[in-house]
Homo-oligomer: 319 residues x 2
């Protein structure tokens, strides 16, 4: 495997790196990190983005080296690394670049990745794609410079909730220690990623928390965000993502649900569990999916109807 | 040093372990952890507590092996380990046990520890007293059992903000990896310590966040908690400790201040900085102290007078 990857890099004139849409710390970290690593040994490497980089991750691409992917631009790459991408559909407009690339290396840690690459390096047990890529780069013997180390550390930190989640094991911490020793500015990462709460998000969070009233004997924390309420604070459906874990972490609460009204009148459902109940069972019944402790769905029904349906489902759920 | 410690343990008939008052994760973790380690090689070890254990840390002493320290009880120990205790005064009622102990080993990571032990093991650079004790126990060659590992991991996690704070370096993560590999139930620690927010604390936090309005061009987030407001939610001065970091972490905010009205009508001042401004300068002017990024003071003046005085100080502070 290692030899095949090195051979593919050496025999390719043009190399690209791409990750999934709606970028997060791990997808951006792995894409930008691998890009900086490859530049050490190759002259023609590009890193693509499908979407705008969220403000808290912009420090990772301060010199703006990411190429916005434009579908009209014709470009066939000899080799494409697709990172942290559980399914080709998650590339959206970037899909064409994958379809046309001559050779594809698929590196991921999501369950059910369909092995769409010519080479597939998949580990569903590992904390993050960043950790997986770091291991690979180390085996390849390519040096990890400071920019790459910072990017990889960001992905590990964000995908493990700063080493809190159950995907953190002793090896995760050993790898994090190795990467940190490469000169990562950890304080910068934490400042950018965690110390940049938007004032209006904080205020809306406050409004929700002030009146939170767990249901079903305290087992379920339930919050509903209408478009009207979000607009009052100038926020959209992608905002306030910390609410769902915040209310799950109330004493006695086992499951939290956040409903957000979509622009089209439908509802986005988020579900989190402390571990006792499997929330992907509820998500599946609503046409969605996910993991036992973190799941979700997107439905066409209105906020109030979705709330009614969900509360009926939860009535049988807590026993 | 190592030999002296081992000799002291071997030559003592009775051994005690004590940590500072108002227990936190690191003081409890180090006391309970070292107790479980010493029990492996010694028949008469006691671990003391001055105060009730806060609910989120009770899992560390599930079998209730900690001895409440009762001043009236006469007991002179051959050897006392004093842990995570920057000054003997922080033992309060436990002070007598220190004064009377025949030999004292002082293990700590606080600055300005006055080296009050017969043996002093002080490292102000290390993440936590738990990390320091783990290193010591390893050098001594005493096995670290699962109960001790869980206690040490708890102290490391709480004193580093889950490896976020600047006291986390590669060695911190390597030690955490080693301890985790000893069979720590990390999920239990995170559930108990971080997923147990009291409903009323969440609601009062919400009330404060909903109306937060940073001052001085957005640099300062300021929150005032009167006794009346805390009583409305059934809370006391020790509660809502996450508020101060939460509001510091708003975009653009550099410094956060939380004022809490004390039972005696005075005011407890908490100060946090993202790093640009040194808040211990402000704390000193109010008769308190602390670190550059986390400081505080306790004053006799009323809430409103303290607020006025502080805002005057801050006027010169942000330039």
């Amino acid at each position: 495997m290692i030899n095949q990857v090195m051979e593919a890099i050496k025999s390719s004139k043009t190399i690209g790196v791409i990750a999934h849409k709606s970028p997060d710390g791990d997808s951006l970290g792995s894409a930008i990190g691998l890009y900086h690593v490859l530049k050490e040994i190759h002259g023609d490497v590009k890193v693509f983005r499908n979407d705008e980089i969220p403000p808290k991750y912009r420090f990772l691409d301060e010199s703006e080296e990411m190429t916005p992917y434009k579908p009209e631009k014709e470009e066939v790459l000899d080799l494409l690394f697709v990172l942290d991408c559980g399914h080709p559909a998650r590339l959206v407009e970037g899909r064409r670049i994958l379809d046309e690339a001559i050779k594809v290396i698929n590196i991921d840690h999501h369950m059910n990745n369909p092995h769409f690459g010519d080479i597939n390096i998949i580990d569903v047990e590992i904390s993050s794609t960043c950790e997986l890529i770091y291991d690979l780069v180390k085996s390849l013997g390519i040096p990890v410079n400071q920019a790459a180390a910072t990017a990889f550390y960001t992905g590990m930190v964000t995908d493990t909730g700063s080493f809190k989640y159950s995907n953190t094991n002793p090896k995760t911490l050993r790898v994090a220690a190795e990467i940190l020793a490469l000169g990562v500015d950890k304080e910068r990462i934490y400042r950018e990623v965690y110390q940049n709460r938007r004032l209006n998000e904080v205020r809306l969070l406050g409004e929700v928390l002030n009146t939170i009233e767990p249901k079903f004997g305290g087992n379920l924390a339930f919050a509903v965000l209408s478009r009207e309420k979000m607009k009052k604070y100038g926020l959209g459906i992608q905002d306030l993502d910390e609410l769902i874990e915040f209310i799950r972490d109330i004493e006695g609460v086992e499951v939290s649900v956040v409903l957000k009204e979509k622009e089209d009148g439908g509802t986005k459902i988020g579900l989190r569990s402390k571990g006792k109940y499997k929330v992907n069972e509820i998500a599946k019944k609503m046409g969605g999916g996910g993991h036992e402790m973190a799941a979700g769905a997107s439905v066409d029904s209105s906020l109030s109807l979705t709330e009614k349906n969900l509360l009926l489902l939860f009535q049988d759920f807590f026993q």
